[in-house]
């Protein structure tokens, strides 16, 4: 494979792994924020209005940014009734073809997320609630996460291509 492809795969996989592993720990922050809400309301009698929304933002970041890492690890299920009949090499060949659809879907998501973020920035979109937080940060995170997923999908495409030709990279 050309050198830039090898480097691309290496760096994108590295980036997804690092961000994914960091995201993985945010589940403890979600738990903490929710507990904080339950405790302040019931025990300290001092309800906080932002805890559930905060957890909601965290959850969105969790699955959007963690998506690339989970794809790298092969956690996304496939229907393998037919797929499983093929050899590893032929599976890679099939994937090379169908990964194009994955990439196209992610491009559509990316375009939509960018336009939604532009709207949020232009009109200073806020979440309609007592806390009334800005929607710009979460939308930027979503754009970044979807972009990362796209980078990872292309990296996966290269890896499958290499595998289909009988070589391994990364």
């Amino acid at each position: 494979m050309p050198k830039f492809v090898v480097y691309y795969v290496k760096y994108v996989d590295y980036l997804s792994t690092k961000l994914g592993r960091a995201t993985m720990y945010s589940i403890f922050i979600m738990i903490g924020v929710l507990l904080l809400g339950a405790i302040t309301r019931n025990i300290l009698n001092m309800p906080l209005s932002w805890t559930i929304e905060m957890a909601q933002f965290l959850l969105t970041g969790y699955y959007i940014v963690g998506g690339a890492y989970s794809m790298q690890l092969g956690d996304h299920v496939r229907m393998d009734l037919v797929y499983d009949l093929f050899s590893e090499k032929n599976k890679a060949k099939i994937d090379v073809c169908t990964n194009i659809f994955l990439v196209l879907y992610l491009i559509a998501l990316l375009i939509g997320s960018i336009s939604s973020t532009m709207y949020a920035i232009e009109y200073g979109e806020r979440k309609f609630s007592q806390w009334n937080p800005s929607m710009i940060p979460i939308k930027l995170i979503m754009v970044a996460g979807i972009f990362l997923m796209l980078l990872q999908a292309v990296s996966t495409f290269f890896k499958d291509l290499a595998k289909a030709r009988g070589i391994t990279i990364s």
Partner: protein, 441 residues
């Protein structure tokens, strides 16, 4: 193109895409995005994201990663081993006792967790090897673990009922309570089936030797201690939620914390267990969330076509079905669609079509939620798609073949269909408890 033709082209396209073995979320996402562009032109390029953004507002889905996390902590921490030991000794001297005990174990796990993943992991790694060692019939016990763990989504808490509650705009507390009696009833039916089967074919389940179970009665009582932790977790999580102390998502955080504390108290929690648990949690949560993301896009395209109205006119005006016939048609269509579509995606796509129809026909949406959940249990267990099947294959000991897994579910699916019929005929099985709790004052 007529509505039916578009629906057929979309479904057919998706089936072909899925058969290629591409990731399920990508297959669904691509077909829906392509359909949106084809139907509405380039302006629809933003539809996939806007549909996906709906998931942002579905914050009750926070329960999903928290329950997955909790399930892993419970299965890694050894709490489940103690529970298994308890059921083993107390039921071991019955014929088929270990299988009955496994159903009991699954009910307890289900009461602590809202997914079937936890029960599956615990059943496949703890109960299955033990029963295999004692020469229980492998096909029967594989079915026991799959059927038992599927109770996870019926016995509260339940993520499927959370998802249904959001789509149908019904209170989750009522839905969870409605699942209690049907869940216990189904567990009871499984046990009756096991008892009868073992009576007729005693070779399927050899009796555990007397010596092994022989211990002083006080020792036996001590084993019951294993039941305390699950009870506490159930109380703090579901109990506080039903009493209105914690909100839904808070209750799942309480449950996750309680499970973590229990694991720390048992001294089984180390860095490796935590890392492994949260990594798998991220993987499974992302997989489900991305499937839902893509399915929301599919649902949005279907909705744009006026699918609810089309379905209503097809069932009521064109076919002149009575409300009960419509209900039966819906349940049957789930099973047929389950053969072409991923089960999680099906929940997201089909429920918005059926729930308005159910309400307009005068059926109770809480009761329908239970029917929907049982149908899901069946769908998750039956090929070709079926998340439980997939997990079972990954987790079961190697001597259990794919054929064993497929054959094993047949009797249990029949029992589930029987339970479904009972609840259709006697809605009070589901509705009695929520009515009792919420209509007191």
């Amino acid at each position: 193109m007529s509505y039916e033709a578009i629906a057929i082209v979309m479904s057919g396209g998706m089936l072909v895409m899925l058969l290629t073995g591409q990731r399920i979320f990508a297959a669904i996402g691509f077909v829906s995005a392509a359909a949106a562009l084809g139907l509405y032109g380039t302006g629809a390029i933003e539809l996939p994201f806007n549909a996906a953004f709906k998931l942002f507002n579905w914050y009750p889905m926070l329960t999903l990663p928290l329950f997955v996390y909790m399930g892993y902590i419970l299965s890694e921490s050894g709490i489940a081993d103690d529970l298994y030991g308890m059921f083993h000794v107390w039921f071991g001297n019955l014929r088929g006792g270990l299988a009955i005990g496994t159903i009991g174990l699954m009910v307890v796990i289900s009461a602590m967790n809202g997914l079937s993943v936890a029960g599956m992991a615990i059943g496949a790694t703890i109960a299955l090897p033990e029963m295999l060692r004692r020469k229980y019939d492998k096909v029967m016990i594989t079915g026991v673990v799959q059927a038992g763990s599927s109770l996870g989504i019926l016995v509260p808490p339940s993520v499927v009922l959370v998802l249904y509650g959001m789509i149908a705009r019904q209170p989750v507390g009522r839905l969870w309570l409605a699942g209690v009696v049907p869940g216990l009833m189904m567990a009871g039916l499984f046990i009756i089936y096991i008892v009868i089967r073992c009576k007729l074919q005693p070779h399927l389940a050899p009796v555990v030797s007397k010596e092994e179970l022989d211990m002083p009665f006080t020792e036996k009582l001590k084993l019951l201690k294993a039941g305390i932790i699950p009870f506490l977790i159930f109380f703090f999580m579901t109990g506080l939620f039903i009493m209105g102390v914690t909100s839904l998502v808070e209750s799942s955080a309480v449950g996750a914390t309680a499970a973590t504390i229990a694991a720390i108290a048992k001294g089984t929690l180390n860095k490796k267990v935590i890392e492994e648990s949260i990594r798998k949690t991220l993987g499974i949560s992302c997989m489900f969330m991305w499937i839902i993301l893509a399915a929301l896009c599919f649902g949005a395209v279907f909705d744009g076509l006026g699918a609810v109205k089309a379905l209503e006119s097809l069932f009521i005006t064109r076919w002149e079905l009575t409300p009960w016939q419509v209900l039966v048609m819906m349940q049957l269509s789930y099973i047929v669609m389950g053969m072409f579509l991923d089960d999680t995606a099906m929940l997201v796509i089909v429920a918005p079509l059926y729930v308005p129809l159910i309400v307009s026909l005068g059926f109770n949406p809480i009761w329908y939620g239970i029917l929907y959940t049982i149908t899901c249990q069946i769908a998750y267990m039956t090929p070709p798609f079926g998340y439980n099947l997939f997990l079972m294959r990954a987790m079961a000991p190697p001597e259990i073949t794919l054929k064993d897994i497929y054959v094993s579910i047949v009797p249990f699916v029949l029992v589930m269909i029987f339970a479904l019929l009972l609840i259709i005929i006697f809605p009070q099985i589901a509705l009695w408890l929520p009515d009792l709790v919420y209509n007191r004052g």
